[in-house]
């Protein structure tokens, strides 16, 4: 009887199991560090993307030989570099470029990785085998070395070329992760039921499996975003990143390869370096919180 009473409990007391979105949200709110990181990131992004309306790229990248190596002043808030270009403007534009590129690479890699991972995991068999062997092959290649080689031989080098080169290598990790999850997912009853009912495969993948992977995709993308910004700035620092004349945090920091600048002209490299540090830390804090949210044992809330 007691059992029965429970079964017919009044509707308003039924607890809907929380959606993965609300779990993610709750975890963020509980973690003060992640929350303040998120607020910072939002404000920061609004600032750098909004400032596009006030800062004219061509004037920031304009070489002005009459004001070389100027120290910070009211004209140039963070001084100027070897070519007389305003550092503050470059940092803003550079942060925007670096973030945009990191973001684009992450999204493209995720889309490709997700598609291929879903196909490989869902269909299995020969398709899975072929795809996974190819992925294994790409994974053993020395990624950074190859990016550097491609960057030097690609005929028309611009931001898009850079994004595609990076994407070409970075989707594989994602595909592998997704495939593993799909392998587990496809054995579950709801998938089997859909198959029995004759639902087309693409519908099962898109409306059945994909939503169940969303949290892991989001977490993984967030953490990758930080990593990709790091790779972009690192390559630009080495001179193999963005094309010349495109400000990036990495190219600004690379001013510091000249020891004279490193020692005597701090404003040419320090602000950009600090910004990279803060940006990547903030994204990482958020990513960590989201990661905990997907694992019930580690949740704070």
């Amino acid at each position: 009887m007691g059992m029965r009473a429970e079964t017919f409990a009044p509707a308003e007391t039924i607890q809907k199991s929380p959606s993965s979105w609300s779990i993610l949200g709750r975890e963020l709110i509980k973690d003060k560090l992640a929350m303040s990181s998120l607020v910072f990131l939002i404000v920061f992004l609004i600032a750098i993307y909004g400032s596009t309306f006030f800062i004219d790229q061509s004037s920031v990248t304009k070489v002005d030989l009459m004001s070389i190596k100027a120290a910070p002043s009211s004209d140039h808030w963070l001084g100027t570099d070897l070519a007389g270009r305003d550092i503050f403007g470059q940092v803003v534009l550079g942060a925007r470029n670096s973030f945009t590129i990191g973001f684009m690479i992450t999204v493209f890699a995720a889309v490709i990785g997700l598609t291929i991972g879903l196909i490989a995991g869902f269909f299995g068999g020969v398709i899975d085998n072929v795809i996974m062997r190819f992925i294994d092959f790409v994974l053993v290649l020395p990624f950074l070395m190859l990016v550097i080689v491609f960057v030097t031989i690609v005929p028309k080098y611009d931001i898009w070329a850079f994004i595609w080169i990076m994407t070409a290598f970075l989707w594989v990790g994602k595909a592998r992760l997704i495939r593993a999850k799909v392998l587990a997912e496809r054995e579950l009853d709801y998938v089997q039921a859909s198959k029995t009912l004759g639902t087309p495969n693409w519908k099962i993948i898109a409306f059945g499996i994909l939503p169940n992977l969303s949290s892991i995709v989001i977490v993984n993308m967030t953490l990758n975003l930080a990593g990709n910004i790091g790779i972009e700035t690192g390559l630009s620092y080495l001179g193999f990143g963005l094309p010349d004349g495109t400000p990036s945090l990495g190219t600004i920091v690379s001013n510091a390869t000249d020891p004279n600048i490193l020692q005597n002209y701090w404003w040419m490299w320090l602000p950009a370096s600090l910004l990279i540090l803060i940006l990547i830390l903030a994204i990482n804090f958020i990513g960590q919180a989201l990661k905990r949210a997907t694992d019930a044992r580690q949740r704070l809330g």
Binding site: L65, A83, R85
Partner: protein, 599 residues
């Protein structure tokens, strides 16, 4: 020490980013050149730099000096004057493979070197006597046979280097030999072991400065087919010379250990050895400060008076080099062995080239970017050739209004309102600019020029959107890559004023591939028998300078001062021109402390 009389007859390529300045061809512009601030006078008094080490302390016995080869790429390792083409290789060779000849302050050959030069009455025959004591460091004597062999190799049709030019074709029988019509070069006669006679078709005043001055050891190279020499071991792995030092060990591209050549013909050098290593320009100042290197040829763009180390001494002299902007106007025709112009080339319009020259603000580049250690160039003959440089030629001074006017008149106008001019047929005009990477101002410099051109409405883009690394830059320029429209580069002029090796019809170094009958005529006149009369020669070269400014196949952009930084323990070293035989200058270097002075 790149600057002690670098008497390589042929031109060495300097690693530098370049620029262009268009010259004032005042066709159709009645207004006189506006006098914008122009810097033909030295903007910085390099008199403030000594030309010789001032160290007066007592020298120690022997010791090893560390020489820094400033380059951001490895040296290629073609360590033979017959085959090399890059300046970093020349920097390595100076220690073990110096020129045979000594030269005076105006770079004419004089006695005191490893060989002497004398002429017959009619100036048609030169006699070279090699010092009796001069030996290769493998023990064989340097013979007249070896010297003749160098001519034979360079004249061989299979020769793959770049030295075969008009100074060689001027030798009697050379062209027949080159065309395989003769087995030997009839104009070159070995008199005895140490004496060689060379006969010339046209007595040529530039022979005195520009005679080929390096022998090639026949005992070593005689058995190697000419086509394979440049890649052979004696060039790449174990090169042998006759200079004051010899190679003990080498990591190609990175470092060379030299030891004293005790058998050096003017007596063993004072040092025990020299360690040469490649130093990235970015770390040059720190390497000097820490005493890691004792001597470097100091890159001007790193000269920052405020932060210079105190443990070094800066020696300065005007460099035998200039930077230029080149326009690709044609192709090298390999079968004919000459340059062929393409009338449809993108840059074929003279007014366009001139306008690009007027648009460039080189005075500001020299003054600001290079701290006054470079100055705007006016002519293709550098001021160091005081007899021939014509200060009345103003060249291409900064005058954007004139540039715009020239472009308007030539039909380059902006028809679609995008801010950039189209070509006279109305097609979009995008000019691809090849510029070298290198020191830290390479990128600002290239961007600055692009900006200058944009100011007059020309759309110039960096080739492939990036700066080109030194070796691939010259590779693409030499092979006339069709993607390259303009390029900025630099020449070391060597010590011969005759520009035929750089701009002649058969000169492979004429990277713009410019040819014209007038040019041929003047270059020929400049080295004719009449030109032994210096006033006549001066006039010919004045006309030639004017022609090159008018036709603008290349536009000289910057002259430069060469700085050599030496540690304060170095003694007895002089970089001024004409101060003595290059090999002896190296042999005479002394140290006054075991360890480098540090700051």
């Amino acid at each position: 020490m790149g600057s002690k009389k670098r008497s390589f007859k042929t031109l060495s390529i300097l690693m530098i980013a370049l620029v262009l300045v268009l010259s004032a061809c005042s066709k159709g512009t009645p207004a006189a050149d506006t006098t914008t601030p122009q810097t033909n006078e030295a903007t910085k008094d390099t008199g403030k730099f000594p030309k010789a080490a001032t160290n007066q302390n007592a020298a120690i016995q022997g010791g090893t000096m560390n020489y820094g080869l400033v380059s951001d790429t490895p040296f290629e390792g073609i360590l033979n004057p017959v085959f090399y083409s890059g300046n970093p290789d020349a920097d390595v060779m100076q220690f073990f493979y110096p020129s045979l000849f000594n030269a005076d302050a105006s770079f004419n050959i004089k006695d005191g070197g490893a060989a002497t030069l004398s002429f017959s009455e009619d100036n048609k025959t030169a006699t070279v006597k090699i010092d009796d004591k001069l030996n290769w460091s493998d023990g064989n004597p340097v013979t007249a046979e070896d010297y003749a062999f160098a001519f034979e190799v360079i004249g061989d049709p299979d020769y793959d280097g770049v030295r075969y030019d008009s100074t060689f074709t001027n030798i009697v029988g050379m062209e027949d030999y080159h065309a395989k019509k003769a087995k030997t070069i009839s104009g070159i006669k070995v008199v005895n072991d140490k004496e060689l006679q060379i006969s010339f078709i046209n007595p040529d005043p530039s022979i005195k400065a520009g005679l080929w001055s390096y022998p090639l050891e026949k005992k070593v190279f005689g058995s190697i087919p000419v086509a394979k020499m440049s890649s052979s071991d004696p060039v790449r792995k174990n090169p042998v010379g006759y200079g004051p030092f010899k190679i003990k060990s080498m990591v190609t591209g990175e470092s060379v250990q030299f030891e004293a050549n005790k058998d050096y013909f003017h007596g063993a050098p004072k040092l025990d050895g020299i360690n040469l290593k490649v130093v990235n320009p970015n770390v040059v100042v720190e390497s000097l400060r820490s005493g890691d290197v004792d001597m470097v040829s100091f890159p001007a763009s790193y000269y920052d008076e405020k932060t210079l180390p105190t443990n070094i001494e800066m020696l300065g002299i005007q460099d035998l080099a200039y930077s230029y902007l080149g326009f690709k106007l044609g192709k090298w025709d390999k079968s004919k062995g000459e340059n062929v112009m393409n009338p449809d080339a993108k840059m074929a319009n003279k007014a366009l080239r001139q306008a690009m020259g007027y648009a460039m603000n080189n005075a500001q580049v020299g003054e600001q970017l290079y701290h006054g250690l470079r100055t705007a160039a006016s002519s293709l003959i550098i001021p160091a050739f005081a007899d021939y440089y014509d200060p009345s030629i103003k060249g291409y001074t900064y005058d954007p209004e004139k540039a715009k006017q020239l472009l308007d008149q030539a039909g380059y106008v902006d028809k679609d309102g995008d801010g950039f001019r189209e070509d006279p047929k109305g097609n979009k005009l995008v000019i691809n600019f090849a510029a070298m990477s290198g020191d830290s101002v390479a990128e600002p410099l290239a961007q600055f020029y692009i900006q200058n051109w944009k100011d007059v409405g020309l759309n110039v883009q960096l080739l492939d959107g990036r700066l080109q690394e030194f070796n691939s830059f010259y590779d693409r320029i030499e092979k006339d890559d069709p993607d390259v429209d303009i390029f900025s580069a630099a020449w070391g002029t060597g010590t011969d004023v005759n520009p035929a090796g750089l701009y002649g019809r058969t000169a492979q170094f004429d990277y713009s591939r410019y040819t014209s009958d007038e040019n041929d005529k003047l270059l020929k006149e400049g080295v004719s028998e009449k030109a032994f009369d210096n006033a006549y020669r001066k006039d010919v070269y004045k006309q030639w300078q004017e022609l090159m400014i008018e036709d603008a196949p290349v536009i000289p952009t910057l002259y430069r001062y060469g700085l050599t930084a030496i540690n304060k323990r170095i003694k007895n070293f002089d970089i001024s021109y004409g101060s003595g035989y290059a090999g002896d200058a190296l042999a005479g270097i002394e140290l006054t402390a075991d360890k480098p002075v540090t700051q």
